[in-house]
Amino acid sequence: MTAAERSRRSVSLLIFVLSATCWGLLLVKPAAVKHCFVTGGELSRTSLEILLLTNPISPMLAGWGLMVLAMMLPKLIIPIQYTCERSFKNRRFRAASLFVLGYMGVWMVVGALMIGGILGLTLFMPGSYTPAIVVGIIAAIWQFSPVKQQCLNRGHNHKALAAFGRAADYDSVLFGFEHAVWCVGSNWVLMLFPVLLPGGNNFVMLAVTLLMLSEHMEAPRTPRWRINLSSKLIRILFAQTSIRLARS
């Protein structure tokens, strides 16, 4: 293994640990964090005022942010490695942080809009599977569309970064911003689907995370309508397990 590969591996490990921590927090549900899931029947026909009282925006946004970090951090390994390799050593952490900041900024705006929608659905269709079914259908159409493939392809575009001063900071944020735009384009509906489910959210979130990671690792392809359920992660796991079993 070359030194560059060892360095990339340590970045990957760190990001996986961070992602796992976020998953842990999501499961533990600290007081400052509230899931933005469509909640159960206890909110039936309540007023918006009471709804907002029981579902304050800040903890919901925090929950959304934590969810995005948990689900998306593994997808950011390559661009973060890229950002570090293309930055001066004493700016690497700063550049990577600014990249994540730009990336999260876009997802938080999208999150605010989604939370608004979720609150509305909670108000008018508490505990209903209908929104999840509708969004699930949209997700299936989007999943197989050329637009989704275009967004996935553009996620592989790693832009040139300025090296010095404020220009470097700006480029890191912009890279994160642009990466997030394509990420939102490819995954918005997949992210919406689990939060609309009245139950089983964490399990579906995990499945969606694995699917998103898998399709992110696929090589760019010509955009067209196709059945597009990436199996790359499964193929990697299968191949690597076979290799290790053969060795032992």
């Binding site: 930055s87 392809n153 575009n157 010095f164 690792m217 010509t222």
Partner: protein
């Protein structure tokens, strides 16, 4: 004992008196007579490498290629067949060598079957074009420039869109800048005193598709030869060989790659090892990627192979009549020469680092220019400014150089190079001294938003260690920056542009 021997295309002066070339021409003609959707057709095989068969409204779309050859664009095979076989070529990857070896074996088998069917020799083998050979061998074998075969029929080896390094139809390989210096490398992936980054065979290809840097064999001579054979006339008419999406339509493609394959075999025969990593041996499938698969006369379902199957000629049924490249290894003493030049008094008995090992440490960026560059005919000039703290380590490592403290290697990187015309070579100079050349083969595909690199373009690494050593010896390293100029070999049409996202400078400590 191998059954098949691949021989020099320049035997019998590279004319049709060389029966290997005459039978090759007949085989190509038979394959070209087959339909696009026939897995044994010339067109299908070209598409296995790469293609422009959909979404193109102008050249290099296959529909817009000037005949000959008259390239068909229908009937297309089924989508599942296309997904299985087409667009497989491996570039900017450590799979470059083994994938192309299997590709050659497959087309050679197709042509051999035709040759045998026509009453030709049972042991017909693909000839190679060794443009590094003596005499006129830097020129394309004349059989490829004749309009007709000896019997007066059209010559299928003749291609209109083949313009050469001066864009006038005179096809030859300029030596230099094309060189076989890569044969002096001693490691496949990584770097050491005689192997610049990313190594002879290319960078390791992991679970994602982030690679954009060619290995040293791929960079020069492979990419350079592609570009120089292809050449260009206008932005809408450049040589087939210049672009991976059209290259394998030109029959000279396979003779060029046969020589690249010969060079790899020669490199191994000189005692250099291929990777032993399972991820290389098992191919991209080990990291969730596509399997290498080729149609064969005996199996249209496809012959699946891995780099492990391709790693040595001793396990395959062919040899080369000559593995000599005329390059002698500089294993012993290359580091000593550098250290002596830098003023280090070497003790003869002092053990030196093993030059068959990867000695490259973690690279670190030490300087960069500001802003993207747009190349026009006059080229571009930029200052690569040092980041003082980082750059200080370079002169320090040169000052403290010894056998146990091997000085840094220094690389200039052209990042995110984008454009639509592959048919160009860029000459790069640092402080008015030539640092090297890079070919833009693959530029269009790498710059396409839906291409393998997602539109990120190509990145080139130039080893400028010797140049920096010279600057150090001339006390010229105290400046704040390096002066970098980039000059295109060919004119860049007014309606085209080539951009360089950034020029950066990197140091790599040596362990």
């Amino acid at each position: 004992m191998a059954t098949y021997t691949r021989k020099n295309a320049w035997n019998q002066n590279g004319t049709f008196s060389n029966s290997d070339l005459l039978w090759y021409a007949k085989g190509v003609r038979a394959m070209q007579a087959r339909a696009l959707n026939d897995q044994a057709s010339w067109w299908f095989f070209a598409a296995i490498h790469n293609e422009y068969l959909s979404g193109q409204t102008t050249f290099p779309g296959w529909a817009y290629i000037s005949a000959p050859p008259a390239v068909p664009t229908s009937p297309l095979p089924s989508q599942s067949i296309r997904d299985k076989f087409w667009n497989q070529c491996q570039h900017q990857s450590w799979y470059f060598e083994p994938w192309h070896r299997g590709y050659l074996i497959a087309i050679e088998a197709q042509i051999r079957a035709i040759v045998i069917g026509l009453g030709g020799p049972n042991d017909w083998s693909l000839p190679y074009w060794n443009y590094f050979g003596p005499g006129n061998q830097y020129k394309i074998p004349p059989a490829f420039t004749q309009l007709t075969l000896p019997d007066g029929s059209p010559n299928p080896l003749f291609v209109k869109a083949r313009y050469g390094p001066r864009n006038n139809g005179d096809i030859y390989i300029p030596l230099p800048p094309v060189s076989q210096d890569c044969q002096r490398n001693t490691i496949y992936t990584g770097s050491n005193a005689v192997t610049p980054n990313p190594g002879y065979g290319g960078p390791s290809t992991g679970f994602s598709n982030a690679g954009s840097v060619s290995g040293n064999l791929e960079n020069n001579p492979h990419n350079m030869v592609h570009t120089y054979i292809g050449g260009s006339i206008t932005s809408t008419d450049y040589g087939l060989m210049s672009d991976p999406g059209t290259a394998a339509l030109d029959p000279i493609f396979y003779l060029h790659h046969c020589n690249i394959d010969r060079m790899w075999a020669s490199w191994n025969a000189a005692g250099n090892a291929n990777p032993t990593s399972t991820n290389w041996l098992k191919g991209p499938a080990a990291t969730g990627g596509r399997k290498f698969v080729m149609p064969m006369p005996s199996s249209r379902a496809g012959w699946v192979y891995t780099p492990n199957d391709m790693k040595s000629l001793s396990q395959l049924n062919y040899v080369y009549d000559n593995l000599s490249t005329g390059i002698t290894k500089q294993l012993v003493g290359s580091l000593a020469q550098r250290l002596t030049k830098l003023g280090v008094n070497l003790i003869q008995t002092q053990p030196q680092p093993d030059e068959n090992m990867d000695m490259g440490g973690n690279s670190e960026m030490v300087g960069a220019n500001e802003g993207a560059l747009t190349l026009k005919n006059s080229g571009a000039r930029t200052a690569v400014r040092f980041q003082k703290e980082a750059w200080a380590k370079v002169p320090k490592s040169l000052m403290n150089a010894s056998v146990t403290k091997v000085p840094d290697h220094v690389y200039l990187q052209l990042e995110n190079v984008k454009g639509k015309m592959d048919s160009n070579v860029l000459a790069v100079s640092v402080n008015h001294k030539l640092a090297g050349h890079v070919s833009l083969f693959g530029l269009r595909k790498a710059s396409s938003n839906d291409g393998h690199h997602g539109g990120a373009g190509l990145t080139f690494i130039l080893d400028i260690t010797n140049l920096v050593d010279e600057l150090h010896l001339n006390n010229a390293l105290d400046a704040d920056s390096l002066d970098v100029t980039i000059s295109p070999d060919n004119d860049i049409p007014n309606d085209e542009e080539i951009t360089v996202g950034r020029v950066s400078l990197h140091r790599q400590p040596q362990s």
